[in-house]
């Protein structure tokens, strides 16, 4: 299976509201790697994701996806924190919004892959929070992404739904071989999903810890996940987060 793209992010300077958010910041992600970006709320994690998605371009530096500037790279599978579904479109049409050419069958397959059935004709507001996240994930999958960008995809959901979605996301990334960057403030997300955990903090933002998690996410035992979670939490505490 072909791996997803290599990522190379280099920010010389990025200001927001007069404040220097990033200065001399560098991050490289190997193709097929799943990296969790962990840091406190408001530190600027989502900004990094927006840069990699090619949405944020107002900074000194460059974001390269397999050597191409991010805005010119193939469409990433971006999963938003708030699902960001278009409320005036049915669930099926929300998927078609990013791929108008796909057949009903492909739409149904994408929905089924995320565990959604019989929702094609429903409106997004008729779905539960967990189902809306699944729909956002199905939409991201529909563009056959080589790069998955996930912005706090499990926040504000109950534990059972979070567990289901974590398993689902892990399976989907493993199946596709995509490179993935997961933004979260929760060590548990990283311990379950990531190959590598990058902890960021401060102003300007710096990488305060870069941890490799040896066992593949899909093969981790419960004990390993707890151990990884402890390791990440310890690194966060030592970084005075």
């Amino acid at each position: 299976m072909a791996h997803g793209p290599d990522l190379s992010l280099s920010i010389a300077r990025l200001t927001f509201g007069g404040e220097v958010l990033y200065k001399d910041f560098h991050l490289n992600v190997a193709g097929g790697e799943v990296v969790a970006l962990i840091g406190p709320s408001g530190v600027g994690k989502t900004t990094l994701l927006r840069i990699l998605a090619g949405v944020e371009t107002g900074f000194d530096g460059q974001a390269l996806v397999d050597g191409r500037p991010a805005p010119l790279a193939p469409v990433p599978g971006l999963v938003f924190q708030d699902a960001r579904l278009l409320p005036w479109l049915s669930c099926a049409d929300n998927l078609r919004a990013v791929r108008p050419d796909v057949s009903d069958e492909v739409v149904a397959q994408a929905l089924a892959a995320t565990g959604l059935v019989d929702v094609q004709d429903k409106w997004p507001r008729q779905l539960s929070g967990g189902m809306q996240r699944r729909l956002g994930l199905a939409r991201a999958l529909l563009v056959n992404p080589r790069l998955m960008l996930l912005d706090e995809p499990f926040v504000s959901l109950d534990r059972v739904v979070v567990r289901e979605l974590q398993v689902l996301v892990t399976d989907l990334i493993v199946q596709s071989g995509a490179t993935a960057v997961l933004v979260s403030h929760d060590p548990q997300d990283a311990a379950r999903l990531a190959h590598r955990v990058v902890i960021i903090a401060g102003r300007p933002v710096q990488i305060v810890a870069d941890l490799a998690l040896d066992t593949l996410p899909a093969q981790r035992s419960r004990a390993q996940i707890i151990a990884y979670e402890d390791r990440i939490e310890t690194a966060m505490v030592e970084s005075a987060l």
């Binding site: 927006r50 998605a53 090619g54 949405v55 469409v75 990433p76 971006l78 938003f80 708030d82 960001r84 278009l86 409320p87 005036w88 479109l89 919004a97 990013v98 108008p100 409106w123 507001r125 563009v143």
Partner: protein, 263 residues
């Protein structure tokens, strides 16, 4: 939920409550009839007398051609003003420069007395349909611009970010992201615009036309023909109600179905 406490627009409330609207209309006619019986004056004819008179005006006089002319003028003025107002409103909402440059023009346009615009148009272009329709358009367009500009300014930037991330084209972004957010503002502009257009077309017909409902009502006024005035008014109200319940409300219900649909 009682209608009075229901925050939804009338068109979005359950259909089961529609009879209340018709009941209120019948109540109005009933009150009018009771008042006419109580006063017993030629200055307040009863509704049944007026309805009978509508029949006579239709068969023996000019009711149908008068309404055809007025409706034609109102429709033309309405369509031109909606198209122009929508385009200008989008331009103002999307560009700070255009907004700063022209917003004061819109404010002036909103507050210029309709009668002044009409008189100027009649003086410049003569007492003809062109002048009348131009006056209607000049009166109505600022209102549409204001509504649409407000709609554009209220676009949710989160959806624009979604469109950029998924590399939607400008056409797709307009169709999937912007147009649906504009719909409520367009409907408001259409509804308030229709009511305004009716009124000003009639006033302008009184002022400078030799045809249409306004012209005919001014003739009735000269002869104190209350039956004629009320007959034309009643037909007018009927047309407005039909437009509201056959065109605008169903359209609103269809376009905003995503807000309330329970299926």
């Amino acid at each position: 939920m009682t209608p009075a406490l229901d925050p939804r627009p009338a068109a979005l409330r359950p259909k089961g409550e529609a009879w209340l609207g018709w009941a209120s209309f019948l109540l109005m006619i009933g009150l009018w009839g009771a008042a006419a019986l109580a006063v017993n004056s030629r200055f307040l004819p009863a509704p049944w007398t007026v309805i009978a008179h509508i029949g006579w005006l239709t068969n023996e006089a000019h009711l149908l051609p008068d309404f055809a002319v007025t409706l034609g003028r109102a429709a033309l003025g309405f369509v031109i003003a909606m198209v122009l107002g929508t385009l200008i409103g989008i331009a103002l909402g999307r560009s700070r420069l255009v907004d700063r440059l022209f917003l004061n023009w819109v404010v002036v346009g909103m507050n210029l007395p309709a009668i002044v615009i009409a008189i100027l148009c009649f003086i410049w272009l003569g007492l003809n349909d062109k002048a009348l329709i131009l006056a209607v358009v000049l009166n109505k367009t600022p209102l549409v611009i204001t509504n649409i500009r407000q709609g554009v300014l209220s676009f949710d930037p989160a959806f624009d970010e979604f469109a950029r991330a998924y590399r939607l084209s400008r056409g797709q972004t307009f169709r999937l992201i912007h147009a649906p957010q504009l719909v409520p503002y367009l409907l408001t502009a259409a509804r308030t615009g229709l009511s305004l257009v009716w009124k000003i077309v009639l006033v302008f017909e009184v002022l400078g036309s030799d045809s249409g409902v306004g012209f005919r009502v001014s003739l009735f006024f000269q002869f104190f023909d209350l039956k004629g005035i009320l007959a034309y008014t009643l037909v007018f109200v009927a047309i407005v109600m039909v437009l509201e319940h056959v065109a605008i409300s169903p359209l609103e219900r269809r376009l905003l179905k995503w807000r309330t649909d329970q299926t």
